[in-house]
C-alpha cells in the first residue's frame, strides 16, 4: 500500500467515522437494535436454556451474547453499505472517484469505517452482556478468536452491502443489502443449538454458512476453539467472494461515472 493509497483510505474513513459518530440517527440503530435483540432473547427466552437436551455451560445469556455479537458486526457492515449508497446518490461518490488516483482505496476507507463502527457496537454489547451476567468461560486466545471472527463477519457484510451500494447507487438499494443478511442470520440456530432444531429449519440451518460461524462463536465463549478453524475458513471465503464482488461493483460505478 503506497502512501497516497493510505492517505485516501484514511481520509474516507475519517469522514465516514466522523459522520456516524456525530449523527445519532446513524449510530443509534447500530447500537440499539443489537441491544434490543439481546434484551428480547436473553431476557424473554431465558427458560429456553432449560429445554431438555440444551447443553450449554455458560448459560442462555452467553448463548445469545454470541448471536448478538455476530449479528451486530454483520449489521455494522450493512449500515456502512447504506452510507456508501447515500454518498453515491448525492454525488459525493463522484468527488471521491475524482480525487483518488487508486479508487480501491475509497473502498478500503469505507471498510475501515465499518470496522470502527462495529468495534464500538461490539464493545457496548460486550459490556451490556457482562453486566447482564453472561458468564464467559473463554480464555484470552478464545476471546481473540471470538472478536476476530466478528471482525471477519463485519468485513464480509460490508463488502456485500458495499457492492450492492456501488451498483444501485441509491438508498433504494437498502432492502437488497439488508434482507439477505437478515435472512442468513435468522435462518440459523438463533434460539437453540442446531441439534434441537427440527424440520425445514434444521435443513436450512445445516447448509447455512452462518450456522458454523455462530457455533464457533458459542464454542469459543465456552472455551473451546475446536470449531474456530472451519469458521475462519468460511468467513475468509466469504470475505474473498464479496471482496471480488465489491471490486467489480466499484468498476461498475466507475464505468457509470459515479
Amino acid at each position: 500500500m503506497n502512501r497516497r493509497f493510505r492517505s485516501v483510505a484514511l481520509a474516507v474513513a475519517a469522514r465516514s467515522i466522523h459522520n456516524v459518530f456525530t449523527n445519532p440517527a446513524l449510530i443509534l440503530p447500530s447500537v440499539v437494535f443489537p441491544l434490543f435483540f439481546f434484551a428480547a432473547f436473553a431476557g424473554g427466552l431465558a427458560r429456553v436454556g432449560d429445554i431438555p437436551g440444551f447443553d450449554y455451560d455458560p448459560g442462555y445469556t452467553a448463548f445469545q451474547f454470541a448471536f448478538v455479537l455476530i449479528q451486530s458486526s454483520a449489521f455494522g457492515g450493512v449500515f456502512t453499505g447504506f452510507g456508501i449508497a447515500r454518498d453515491f446518490e448525492m454525488g459525493f461518490g463522484r468527488r471521491l472517484l475524482l480525487a483518488a488516483p487508486q479508487r480501491p482505496a475509497i473502498l478500503v476507507g469505507y471498510l475501515i469505517a465499518a470496522f470502527v463502527r462495529a468495534a464500538f457496537t461490539m464493545l457496548v454489547v460486550t459490556v451490556v452482556a457482562l453486566a447482564a451476567g453472561a458468564e464467559l468461560n473463554a480464555g484470552g486466545i478464545d476471546l481473540f478468536g471470538l472478536y476476530g471472527l466478528a471482525v471477519l463477519v463485519n468485513l464480509a457484510a460490508a463488502l456485500w452491502a458495499g457492492g450492492v451500494a456501488l451498483r444501485v447507487r441509491s438508498i433504494q438499494g437498502g432492502p437488497l443489502m439488508q434482507v439477505p443478511v437478515f435472512l442468513l442470520l435468522f435462518l440459523a440456530p438463533v434460539y437453540v443449538p442446531l441439534d434441537l432444531l427440527t424440520g425445514w429449519i434444521h435443513a436450512v440451518a445445516t447448509v447455512n454458512p452462518f450456522t458454523a460461524l455462530l457455533a464457533a462463536a458459542r464454542d469459543l465463549i465456552d472455551g473451546d476453539a475446536g470449531t474456530l478453524g472451519v469458521a475462519v475458513a468460511i468467513s475468509a471465503g466469504l470475505v474473498a467472494l464479496f471482496g471480488v464482488w465489491a471490486l467489480r461493483s466499484l468498476r461498475r460505478a466507475e464505468a457509470a461515472g459515479g
Binding site: 485516501v8 481520509a11 456525530t22 461518490g93 471521491l96 480525487a99 457509470a256 461515472g257
Partner: protein, 311 residues
C-alpha cells in the same frame, strides 16, 4: 506527444444506452494556461464531455489526453494533475467547510500540517473563512459553489475543470467567481476548461470559445474572431421626427456600419436623431448563425438523458 498541461481531444464520442450520441465526435485542443469556454445549451453534451475528460466516464470512441496522459489508460495520473468542480457541487451537508478541506486534502495525499495550512488559505481565498466551521447544509448556493471551487484547488492542479460553475447563482456571486477564475489563470498559470450556458460568461472569461450543439462543435475561436466572422457592428437609429425614417435608413445602408461617416452624413442631410446605438455582434448571434437557433431555450435536457442512461 501532447502538451504537458494542456488538453487534446480527438474524435471523442459517448453514446448512452437507448440514447442519442450525447457527444458526437469532438476534436479540440487547449494549450497550457488558456481559459477555454465550452458554450452550449442544456443537453448539448458539455457535461458528458467534462465527465470523460475528468476520467469519470469512459468514452465510447476516440481519445483524450489531459496533462499529457490518456484519460482511459492513465486515469490515475490524470486525476493527480486535475482539479474539478462539477455541476452539482456534491458536498456533505453534515460536514463543515473546514472538514471538507481536510477530507479533500487527505484524498490528495497532503500531510496533516499541509492540509490545515492549505485549507485555511483556500477558505480565505474563496471568502469562506468566517463560515468555515459551519455545517455545509446551511450554506447558500453561492457559498457551496465557492467551497467547491476551493476544494478543487487543494492540490494546486495544473488543469481545472469547471462545469457550469455559475448556473443558478445571483449576479454578485457570479462576478466574484469570475474574478477568482481569471486570477487563477493569470497568477497561477492554470489551464481552465469551463462549460457554460451563459454567453456573457464565455465572453468575459474565455480566451477561446468552442460552441457545442447536439454533441458537435459548431464553431471555435476567440470571442472576437467568432463575432468578426458574423460581421461588423450593426448600427440602429431612431429619428427625432418619424417622417425622416426613410432618409435615415438610406444613410445607414449607405454607410454600412461606419459610425464616423454615418454621423457626418446625418449632419449633412440635417436629420436629427433621438437615439443612436451600436449593436456589436454577440456570441448569441454566432450561435444563431451556426445553429439557426437562439441559445436561450435551445436545450433539450442533457441531465435527464444522463440520469436516465446511468440509472
Amino acid at each position: 506527444m501532447s502538451q504537458p498541461n494542456g488538453i487534446e481531444v480527438d474524435g471523442l464520442v459517448r453514446v448512452f444506452k437507448k440514447g442519442p450520441r450525447a457527444v458526437d465526435g469532438i476534436d479540440l485542443e487547449v494549450p497550457p494556461g488558456e481559459i477555454y469556454g465550452f458554450l452550449g445549451p442544456n443537453g448539448a453534451g458539455k457535461s458528458t464531455t467534462v465527465l470523460m475528460l475528468t476520467t469519470l466516464l469512459p468514452p465510447t470512441e476516440g481519445t483524450a489526453r489531459v496533462a499529457g496522459y490518456d484519460v482511459v489508460r492513465e486515469g490515475a495520473k490524470v486525476r493527480i494533475a486535475i482539479g474539478a468542480a462539477l455541476q452539482d457541487a456534491a458536498l456533505d451537508p453534515f460536514l463543515t467547510g473546514r472538514e471538507h478541506m481536510r477530507l479533500q486534502g487527505g484524498l490528495h495525499g497532503l500531510d496533516r500540517r499541509e492540509r490545515e495550512r492549505r485549507g485555511d488559505e483556500l477558505l480565505e481565498r474563496v471568502g469562506l473563512s468566517e463560515a468555515a466551521d459551519r455545517k455545509v447544509g446551511g450554506y447558500s448556493g453561492g457559498m457551496k459553489r465557492r467551497l467547491d471551487l476551493g476544494l478543487a484547488l487543494v492540490h494546486r492542479p495544473r488543469i481545472l475543470f469547471l462545469d457550469e460553475p455559475t448556473t443558478g447563482l445571483d449576479i454578485q456571486s457570479r462576478t466574484a467567481l469570475w474574478e477568482e477564475v481569471s486570477r487563477l489563470s493569470k497568477e497561477d498559470g492554470a489551464t481552465v476548461f469551463l462549460t457554460t450556458q451563459y454567453l456573457e460568461e464565455a465572453d468575459v472569461l474565455a480566451d477561446r470559445v468552442g460552441i457545442i450543439d447536439h454533441g458537435k462543435i459548431v464553431a471555435e475561436g476567440t470571442p472576437a474572431a467568432l463575432k468578426a466572422e458574423i460581421g461588423h457592428a450593426h448600427v440602429e437609429a431612431q429619428p427625432a421626427n418619424e417622417e425622416d425614417r426613410g432618409r435615415l435608413d438610406a444613410v445607414l445602408e449607405r454607410c454600412d456600419g461606419d459610425l464616423t461617416s454615418i454621423v457626418r452624413e446625418l449632419d449633412r442631410e440635417g436629420i436629427r436623431v433621438a437615439r443612436l446605438t451600436v449593436h456589436e455582434p454577440s456570441l448569441d448571434d454566432v450561435f444563431l448563425a451556426k445553429t439557426g437557433r437562439s441559445l436561450e431555450g435551445a436545450g433539450d435536457d442533457e441531465d435527464e438523458l444522463l440520469e436516465e442512461a446511468l440509472a
